[in-house]
Every structure is written in C-alpha cells, then in structure tokens.
C-alpha cells in the first residue's frame, strides 16, 4: 500500500502462430503490462501485420456500427480463441466489402441530396427564365456559332472565372444566386469551346441539364421537375431499403466481427509495445507482479501445455525509471488515489503517498472547516450525489464526517458557538493555541516529507543526496536544529545550544554538498553554494509558516459566521433567517471550496514537491475490455 509491488520482467517465447492466443491469455490473466522486447537476436516484428489488419478492421467496424447501430452487449466466451492473422485479414476483407456497400448507399444518398438541392435551385431558375421570355431553343441550338452553357459555380470563384473566360472571348452573365452557388449563362464562340472545358471543370462548374421540353415550352419544365423529384424519391427509397437490407443481412455477422476483434485486441495492443520474433518464434515482453508468477505459469501451462519458454528477471537499477508502478490500494483508499495521480505517478520503488495523503488531507480539511452542521451538509450532499460523482463521493463523505468531528472539538454548529460545548478548544477564544498547533503540525509534516525523501533517494541509489542534500538527512538535521533554536528563543524549551550546533552542522553539510555538486568555475560555485544554501533555510522557514493558514482558516470560519450573525441580527425575523440560511450556503460553497483547494495545495506544494517526482509510469495491464487510447 505504501510502495509499488515488486515486479518481474518476463519474456514469453512461443510459436508465432500462437502469439495471438498467448496475448489473449495474458489479457485474461489481467496483470501483464506489455513492454518493449530488448532481445537483439529477435529482429523481426511478427505482430506488426496483425496489428495493421486489426486497426483497419476495427476502423471499418466502428464506421459500420456508427451506421448500423450497436449490435448489443458483448460476451466473450471463456474458451474463445483469438483469430489467426489469416482469419483477421479475411474478416478485414469482409468488413471492407460491407463498408463499401454501405458507403455506396451513403454516397448515393449524398448525391440524391445534392440533386434535390439542385432541382430546388433549378425550379427557382425556371421562374426567372419564364420571365425573361427568352427563346431557349434558339439560344441552346447545337449548330449555332455561339456555344451557350447554363449552370452554376461557387460564388467566390465567379470573378476569377469571368476574367479567365474573357481571355477566350466568352461572356458570363449571372442571373441568380442560391446560397453559395451562383447561376449563370456562359456564352462564347463555339470554335473556342474546347479551350474552356478544362477551366470550367477546374472551377467546379455544374451544367444545368435543361430538358428538351424547357427549350420549347418553359412551362412544361414543371412537369419534368416533378418527374425528376419522383425519380429521386424512388431512388432514395431504394437506397434506404438497401441500407435496411444491409443491417438485416449483416447484423449477426457484425456482432461476430465485434467478438473476434475483441479477442484479437490483446495482440494488436501488445504489438504497440513491440512483439519481436524470428522465423516461427515470437516473444512477448512485459511486467508482471512477482507474487503472480505461479499463477501465470499455471495459466500458460493450461493453455500451451509446455509449448512456451518463460524467461524472467528482476528490474535492473538503470531501468527503474521505465518500470511501471503497480500499487494495490484498499477499497476505502481508492477514492483518494486520483487526487494523488493528478500530481503524478510514483516511480517504481518510491514511497507511495496515497495513504498519508488521505489522512492528512482530511485532517487539514476538518481543522480548517470544523463545523458539525456544515460538515453534515457536505456529507449528505456527497451521499446524495453518489451516482453522479461515483467513487469520488467518498472523499466528500469523509471530508464531511471529519468536518463534523472537528465541529464537535470546536463546539461549532452552523456558525453558532453556543449550542454545543467544545470538546477541545474554540479557535475564536484561543487563537494563539490554534496557531501554535498548526505550526507544530507543519513541523511534523515537513519532517515526515524529509524522511520520505531520504528513503526515496536511498532506494534510487542516490546515497549522497539522501545524506547530504537539503532535502535529505542534512536538511532534516538543520531543520530540527532551527526549530529547536526558535522554540528555545520563544522560551518553549532550553535547547538553545544543542539546537544551534545541530542547525550549524546541517547547514554546513548542505553548503559543502552544494559546493562539490556544482560543476562550474570558482566564482560561480561560490554563488551557487551561497544562493542554494540560503534558499534551503528560507524554503523550510516559509513552508513551515505556510501551515499557519490552517489556523487562519479555522478562525476565518468563525469570523465569517459572526459577520453573518451581525447582518442577520439587524433584520426582522424573516430577514434574519433568510440571511442565516443564505450566509450558511455561502460559507459551505465558498469557504468549503477554498478550504478544499488550500488543503490540496498544502499537500502538493509543501508535501509532494519535497519527495515525490511524479514521473513514474502507471501499470497498464493488457485487458480484453476496450482501451482505445492505448491502441
């Protein structure tokens, strides 16, 4: 719980033809984190084509499911095997055929939609042409010297097209615009007709199919338009029928395709990390928890009956940064883990701060927001929102409960200080004691972080930093000495001399360490040593004082309540209670929010930043369930 589980690096070698089943078994096993294979002798990537086929098939299946709708819940049978590469490629080909059929229906639908828009535009155009009283039959005569086109083109290109056509003796006459489409007549010498064909195609010109009826009797075009609309509707209905047919025809097979792709996913995902091989052999590499080794062997024996070779080793010192961290948390601690992970993931072997975080965060929140009533409201609200907040609701419930507990200690209920007797102390009546306790807590917290950092540095093999750096033993010695000196000066103890010696010893050690660590010229080393040593003292002092905010917020809570009571007491009965209720809501929302953030800030910046680099890698096991982000 306080540090990551010991892991083993495994290299599982098996027949390449069984790699997909091995990956599937490892995914079912549930605690195998794939990693890059480092065996130089295995130069090939046997799973690359498997992954490629899977990605293509998965993309096609996703598009089909988007069109056809979901095929229902997916149940993977325990004894189901992963498809071989040939099967996967076959499935991919089938999905391609289905998608192309589906796509052509879609494409047809899109074209029908465009044709309908075009007909709408044509109808409007006809109305204008009717008014023009132009003899279209003469205008559009194929044997005339003048070549005439009626059609549309995108409005932004009109000017350019007009200029370009003018170079060939053509005129452009715009007569209508519908949306972004401009309708125009283009006329020019028939001898130069060929010259403009390429230009018109390039400009996205769409010729209006003017029917023969229109050429002689513009009014007759209405009937033609209606006929065209009916034809498009029939065509669209046919396309819809084809789509429905596709759904009915392929629905069950699509479900099967989903199943097979889900079974193929583990090898495709493992291939991302790198499955290596040579000839008929393939090797999967990754990390498993040490305590799961026997279970893994059992799983593999069950499936492969000895047709595999398992090589394992402990992580080496130089690869610690790449080893994933797997920490098992008890159920009650899990809601707090995302708050720790939002800062970072602990490195393999590092101290995991989730447990002390949970306790300290709640303690700080309760101390700063101690009120039985407000705590109860937070608790009830978090419980009521459990479905929406999920596991995180437990953080709210716990914070509310601790707030109630401190409310009892402080004797505070909805800001009233006189309903219950304080079990411990009232911040308003004993502020100095509260401040002293807060600073004392801060000293304890900083000592704890320095000890944890020393442990982390020793684990990482940085003994000199653990012993002599400002965040190691030397820093701790200096800090304890400095605290002892301050306490002695304040008359709290008679330890002035030993404390001074301790502080001096600590700071000199730190200065010497900084001196030897700095790789620079003498002048620069002096500067670096002086500044970094000074910074050590200032940081520790400032970090300790930072904890005074705990006392400040507990006082602030009472002061806010007093302000509300003062306002409420100046009003009539209705106004009084309205102000009390509104004021309490403001305290819970505003101050509660601020205190939650301040407690988090204290944990992150006065705590985590001292010992927790947060640059570890999370243990992400191969799973059967969807993990698209990794793939």
């Amino acid at each position: 719980m306080l540090r990551a589980e010991p892991l083993l690096k495994i290299q599982l070698m098996m027949l390449a033809s069984e790699a997909q089943d091995a990956a599937l078994s490892l995914a079912r096993f549930g605690v195998f984190n794939p990693a890059a294979c480092t065996l130089d002798t295995l130069a090939e990537s046997p799973a690359a084509s498997y992954r490629e086929a899977w990605l293509e098939a998965d993309a096609r299946l996703s598009k089909l499911l988007e069109q056809c709708g979901d095929t229902g819940p997916l149940h993977l049978p325990e004894d189901a095997e992963a498809p071989a590469l040939a099967d996967l490629q076959e499935l991919n080909r089938w999905l391609k055929e289905v998608w192309i059929a589906c796509l052509s229906c879609h494409e047809s639908e899109a074209q029908i939609h465009e044709a309908r828009s075009h007909l709408d535009a044509l109808e409007e155009t006809l109305a204008k042409l009717e008014r023009l009283n132009v003899d279209l039959a003469r205008l559009l005569r194929a044997d005339s010297l003048l070549a005439v086109h009626i059609g549309s083109l995108p409005a932004p290109g009109l000017r350019r097209v007009t200029e370009a056509l003018a170079m060939t003796g053509h005129l452009v006459s715009r007569f209508d615009q519908v949306g972004e489409q401009v309708f125009a007549v283009i006329a020019g010498p028939r001898t130069r007709h060929e010259e403009v064909q390429g230009l018109l195609a390039q400009a996205g010109w769409r010729e209006l199919p003017v029917p023969d009826e229109l050429r002689t009797h513009p009014q007759a075009a209405r009937a033609w338009l209606e006929a065209e609309r009916t034809r498009l509707n029939t065509q669209s209905g046919a396309e819809c029928q084809i789509m429905d047919g596709l759904r009915e025809q392929f629905g069950p097979r699509l479900h099967e395709a989903r199943l097979r792709l889900a079974l193929a996913r583990p090898l495709a995902e493992a291939a991302l990390a790198g499955v290596r091989g040579k000839g008929g052999l393939a090797a999967l590499s990754g990390w498993i928890p040490k305590r799961q080794l026997d279970a893994l062997r059992e799983t593999l024996d069950q499936h492969f009956h000895g047709r595999y070779w398992l090589d394992l080793r402990e992580p080496s010192a130089d690869e610690v940064a790449e080893v994933p961290s797997l920490v098992r948390y008890p159920v009650w601690l899990k809601p707090f883990v995302p708050l720790v992970k939002s800062y970072g993931v602990p490195r393999y072997g590092e101290f995991d701060p989730a447990l002390p975080f949970a306790f300290t965060y709640l303690l700080l929140f309760g101390a700063m927001f101690g009120d039985v009533g407000h705590g109860a409201v937070i608790l009830l609200l978090a419980a009521a929102l459990y479905r929406r907040l999920g596991r995180m609701a437990w953080v709210g419930i716990a914070a509310g409960a601790v707030s109630m507990l401190f409310g009892l200690f402080y004797g505070s209920m909805f800001g009233y200080e006189d309903i219950i007797e304080p079990f411990w102390l009232s911040p308003l009546h004993d502020p100095i004691r509260v401040l002293t306790i807060a600073v004392g807590f801060g000293v304890g917290f900083i000592v704890f972080t320095l000890l944890v950092n020393t442990y982390n540095k020793l684990i990482a093999g940085h003994a000199s930093e653990a012993l002599f750096d400002s965040t190691g033993v030397a820093g701790l010695v200096f800090y304890l000495g400095a605290v002892g000196s301050v306490v002695s000066l304040a008359g709290g103890a008679d330890l002035e001399q030993p404390s001074g010696v301790l502080a001096g010893l600590g700071i000199v050690t730190i200065a010497l360490f900084k001196w030897f660590e700095a790789r620079a010229s003498v002048g620069e080393r002096i500067l670096v040593t002086a500044i970094e040593t000074l910074e050590t003292g200032i940081n520790l002092f400032a970090n300790t004082l930072s904890f005074m905010r705990v006392a400040a917020f507990s006082l602030n809570h009472v002061a806010l309540a007093l302000a509300i009571f003062t306002l409420a007491n100046g009003l009539d009965t209705a106004g009084h209670w309205f102000t009390i209720v509104l004021g309490n809501i403001v305290i819970i929302v505003l101050e509660g929010g601020i205190v939650a953030i301040q407690a988090l800030r204290l944990m992150y910046y006065e705590g985590f930043s001292r010992f927790f680099s947060g640059d570890g890698t999370e243990f992400v096991p191969l799973r059967l369930s969807s993990q698209r982000a990794r793939v």
Binding site: E52, E163, A203
Partner: protein
Amino acid sequence: MSAYLNTRVSLFSGRLWRDDDLDALVSVPDDAVADTLALRGLPQLAAGYDSLGGKQQDSRSLEQRIIAQILDETRVMLRPLSGSARSFLTFWTARFEISNVKTLLRSKMTDERPAAILARLIPMGAFGRLDNQDLAHAEDVGELLRRLEAGPYAGIVRHARRAFEQSHDPFSLDAALDRAYYEGLTVRAQPLEETVGAPFRGLMANLIDRINLVWLLRYRFNYKLPPAQVYYLLVGSRYSLSGTQLQQLAGQDSLEAVLAALPPAWQVRLHGATDIPGVFARMEYAAAEQAQRVLHSPAAAIARSFAYLILRERDLRAVRAVLRGRHLGLADTDIRQALHRAPTEVE
C-alpha cells in the same frame, strides 16, 4: 511582447547558414556532421543523424525532421503573438498539413494501406488539426474528401472536391488545394499589410509573385494548359504582377516571350534564366535578399519573424540537399553544384 519576439528573432537569426557554412558541411567528416548541425541550431536533424549513423537517415525521415525543426521554431515565435499576426503565422504552417492532405489523397487513389500512409505523413505536433488515423482509414477518395470537408480545411477542400468530381484528374485536386491555400494566406496577410506596412507587404509580394510566375510557366509550358485555365489557376494577386499582367503573360507562346513581356525590373532580376528552375532560383534569391533586409531592419516583429522563417526554410532545403547528397554518396563537387544559391552561379 514585440520586444520579446524581436529579441527571439534576433537570436534565431544567428542560426542562419551562410554559403560558407553549407560549403563546410559538404566536406565535414561523417562523425562530425551531427555536431555541426547541432551547433547551427538544428538539434532535430543532429539527433536523427546521430541515432541513425548519418548515412542511414532516409529522405522521408530527413524531411520530417526538417519540418519538425521549423514547427518548433514557429511555435516559439507564436507564443507572444495574438490576433491577425498569430492567425497568419499559424496558417503559414498549415501548408505542411495541406501537403499531408495531398499525400492522403494520392495514397487513396493508389489504394495504399493505412499504415503505409500514416508513415508518410508529416508529424504536425501541436499544429496538427486533422485526425490522420481516421482519414487514413477512409475507404476511398470520395469518403476521404467528405471527411476532410467536415474538418478544419473544409473551405480549401470543398472546391477541390467539386473540381475533382468534374474531371477525376489528380492534377485538378493538387492545383485546387494549392490555389485555395495561397488565396487563404493572402486573405490572412491583408490586415498585416495594412498595419505593418511595406516590409511585410514586400515579403508577401515576393512570395506570391514567385508562385504565380513559376506556376504560370509550369502550367503553360510543361502541362500545355490553355491560357484562360492557367490564369484561373493562379493566386488572385494584388502585388507586383497584377491580374491584367498575368493574363497577358499567360497568353504568351513561349518561356522567352513570357520573360520578355515582364516589367523591366523583373527582366533585370531574371536575366540569364532559360528554364523554369532558373526562374525559380533567381526569384528565390531575390526573395531571400529582401528577407535578409527585413530581418536586419527595425521592421515590426511579425515581419522579421516571417522573414526569418522564409530564410530558415531556404537554408534547411539547402542542408537537406547536402545531407541527401552525402547519403547518396555524391562527390563534393556535385553537391556544391546542386547547392548554387546565387543567380550568377545558376548560369
């Protein structure tokens, strides 16, 4: 903020390559290439050269590293910018993504596998606006174009789709995409030309005029397109070569006639050019000279940044030529011949 950007551009300008530096890179021993590249502010290229043993670096990876380097530097310059300056510089990087769009379209026409397509795309990092995975898995050009039309480059792609639907010619797709991109660039440049003035307008004029003249020559005499279509495919210009002049030039029957019909100042600039690469080299040289002047002038920070990026890209193309030459085992003299950057050397 402009003080920051001006300082940053001045610091960056120290990384530009002089002809002597390029000359030295041609003959430097293999094991010193990575250090030379790193010293000239090309850590991305140096890393590639180092990790792959120099000569193993293939042209695709080299190209990708060069663009990654340019994007890195552009990102730094974008930090203090906002409004039209930010929009312009961001759009300037979008041409790499338009190049990805072209790769995607061409690959779909030849039915390439998605994995192969993805490997060929330029990694855009934080500048990427396209979902390449999704696009690479489109079934055909039609599906790809519709997906692109639903994305951030809808304006550029819509027109290209219509052109392609009419002609089914890959050339019309490329030409429509290029034209729409540079039209978009000039639109974004306009507010800056008004506020920043001559230095910025000069850089844009050099860029768009060069593009128009080279495209005109290529479309007219390599692809044998009719004058009207050539004119239509050029970028709408408000710079030195006006629309009327471009129409006249497109109507000429030979490269020599086009060059003879250019304004006198242009004829001096292009003196000695006998082919399209020659014209391009001379115009690029003139653009680089102007960018140098803007970079070393007290012009607005955005103009200096743009000038730096123009020069940097030119440098990186030259570095790429040297590294490719070395990769192919060409003789030093041949690489130097290919490197000629000044007009007198082009002849």
